[in-house]
């Protein structure tokens, strides 16, 4: 019935509170601006009256009319000028306060949504682990349950790693950039990254020969690739996941392209990897792709994401070269 009788979802007694608070704040802000205007106008009238009295006193002590009128005109202009500046300053400060409040509210909502998403990501593998542990405790000894437990604990570990890395990067943590020959690095690292996902995953790699070494932090590079793979595993929704990596020269830089064969998404590439201010229906936290972009920028490179329904997910990572000769 709720959908048909003018009772929209989210209008329950609890959700009414923020709306009331917003109305109260709007009322207080309006009162503040009215108060500023009234006080400003009162001040102007008061000063003008004072000036009139001063000019009247000057007349009484014997100054000529024209001299008094000239002085009065100059005083009035100064008072009006000062009043306008004073009022504009008050209005500017009021507007600044309103803007600061709006920005802080938006930031607080973003943070709340972010922590809700992180909590969601931690609760989901915990639910699975608890279900499996309860089944094992009740005597179910299948190896499949242990396998699921391992998968879930890896997911939990990865989520915690990503959250900590996000805190480190946002806090300005340093990177140790060095010369990395991409071919050798991919050969050594890809197996470690894809191993937890077992045989569900097939990876093809093509690296142009010769290719100059890139300038990168090896740990950050591993985090970037792991996040891309986990993103594909999580969102591709295909029975057999195929990943294609190709590296080639682009001008003075090196381009590493990453493509999966997943279902893809209609979310625009620039929206992918947003951590704060995401939509309600977003799955995951967005930390993985956010970190890919942030780490690439910190290494002086660039990351772009592309996806469309039926076209899978593609990432373009542009690295600076280390200046050493091609391998």
């Amino acid at each position: 019935m709720a959908a048909h009788v003018n009772l929209k979802a989210g209008q329950g007694s609890l959700s009414v509170v923020p709306a009331r608070r917003a109305r109260l704040i709007a009322l207080l802000a309006s009162l503040w601006i009215v108060l500023v205007l009234v006080l400003g106008a009162g001040w102007v009238i008061l000063v003008i009256n004072q000036a009139r009295q001063i000019s009247a006193l000057q007349e009484l002590v014997g100054r000529t009319d024209s001299a008094v009128a000239a002085q009065w005109g100059s005083t009035r202009r100064r008072i009006v000028g000062e009043s306008v500046v004073f009022l504009l300053l008050l209005l500017a400060v009021s507007a600044l306060l309103v803007w600061l409040y709006w920005r802080e509210s938006r930031r607080a909502r973003g943070m709340q949504a972010f922590f809700a998403a992180v909590t969601h990501e931690l609760r989901t593998p915990l639910t699975s682990m608890r279900l499996q542990a309860e089944a094992i405790a009740e005597g179910d000894q299948r190896a499949e349950l242990a396998q699921r437990l391992l998968e879930d604990s890896s997911r939990l570990e990865s989520q915690i790693d990503k959250t900590l890395e996000l805190a480190r990067i946002e806090g300005g943590g340093p990177l140790a950039e060095q010369s990395v020959p991409l071919r050798g690095w991919l050969e050594r690292t890809l197996g470690i990254i894809t191993e937890p996902h077992g045989t569900r995953l097939e990876v093809k790699v093509h690296v142009d020969d010769p290719l100059p070494p890139i300038l990168a932090d090896a740990a950050a590079l591993q985090m970037i690739l792991r996040n891309l793979v986990e993103n594909s595993v999580r969102h591709a929704r295909v029975e057999r996941l195929q990943l294609q990596l190709s590296a080639q020269r682009r001008g003075s830089q090196v381009l590493l392209e990453y493509q999966d064969n997943g279902e893809g998404t209609a979310v625009p590439g620039r929206e992918l990897g947003r951590v704060f201010g995401r939509g309600d229906n977003s799955k995951g936290t967005g930390i993985g792709l956010y970190l890919v972009r942030a780490l690439m920028q910190r290494m002086g490179g660039e990351a772009q994401f592309h996806s469309a329904p039926g076209a899978g997910f593609r990432a373009e990572l542009l690295f600076n070269t280390s200046g050493e000769s091609a391998t």
Partner: protein
């Protein structure tokens, strides 16, 4: 009805879905596992469930919207939301949409089992209609069909939730007499939902929007101070 009842489990997280489905089957239920909203629609069209466990976050939609569709398509099915979003706003939203219960992840399987059994029992109680409640009953401006979980108001059909049906039926069965808030809570809510007398009052406000000609001046469902509510306008058609 618990043993052998058909449960539709809508859960996109593979490990959670498969393990939960296995455990529910071991507990004696028939379980259909759907990993997306689209697959859930196919599943309930193929066979209507007695109860559906719906994850709120789905890859191709929102569990709340899916529950609304399920409520229209299979009104007799009970709905329990499973969610990792544990904030009170989501809980209120879920219950307003007609969920019979709302379970936060991570949960104990035995607790979930208990909630499923309670929901199935309440659904069964609703399915067993006394003779006088069969057919169409006019309550205020609404023509209510308890068998079909529906109400017609000014030519528009509305799907009734299980709680709405339970409360209306209780008031209708005692038409002309006051029913206490405690009794309403006892019949329509489970203890695990932590209901209060205020829960009943909020719920009555919603029912009044359905049955009262003027919800601001209620004459069909009247408040009896210090006791509860009284239904005064009931006609069998």
């Amino acid at each position: 009805m618990s043993a052998g009842a058909h449960l539709l489990l809508v859960e996109d997280e593979r490990n959670v879905g498969e393990t939960l489905a296995e455990r529910l089957r071991a507990a004696g239920f028939r379980v259909t596992l759907a990993s997306s909203a689209a697959r859930a629609r196919q599943a309930w069209q193929a066979q209507a469930p007695h109860l559906s466990l719906v994850d709120v976050g789905l890859p191709d939609g929102n569990g709340f919207d899916l529950a609304r569709e399920l409520r229209s398509a299979v009104p007799q099915a009970a709905i329990i939301f499973l969610t990792a979003h544990a904030n009170p706003e989501d809980r209120v939203r879920g219950l307003e949409l007609g969920a019979d219960d709302y379970v936060s992840k991570p949960f104990h399987f035995r607790e979930l089992l208990l909630r499923i059994q309670n929901c199935l029992k309440r659904a069964q109680d609703l399915a067993e209609l006394p003779r006088e409640m069969r057919g169409v009953v006019r309550i205020g401006r609404a023509r209510v069909d308890f068998e079909r979980f529906s109400a017609e108001v000014a030519g528009t059909q509305h799907a009734l939730t299980h709680k709405e049906c339970a409360v209306l039926r209780l008031l209708a069965s005692r038409a002309g007499k006051a029913v206490s808030r405690d009794e309403i809570l006892d019949k329509a809510w489970s203890a695990e939902e932590f209901p209060t007398s205020r829960t009943v009052d909020n719920f009555i406000v919603r029912l009044r929007r359905l049955v009262e000609p003027d919800a601001d001046e209620p004459r069909v469902i009247r408040s009896i101070r210090g006791v509860g509510y009284l239904l005064s306008d009931l006609k069998h058609e």
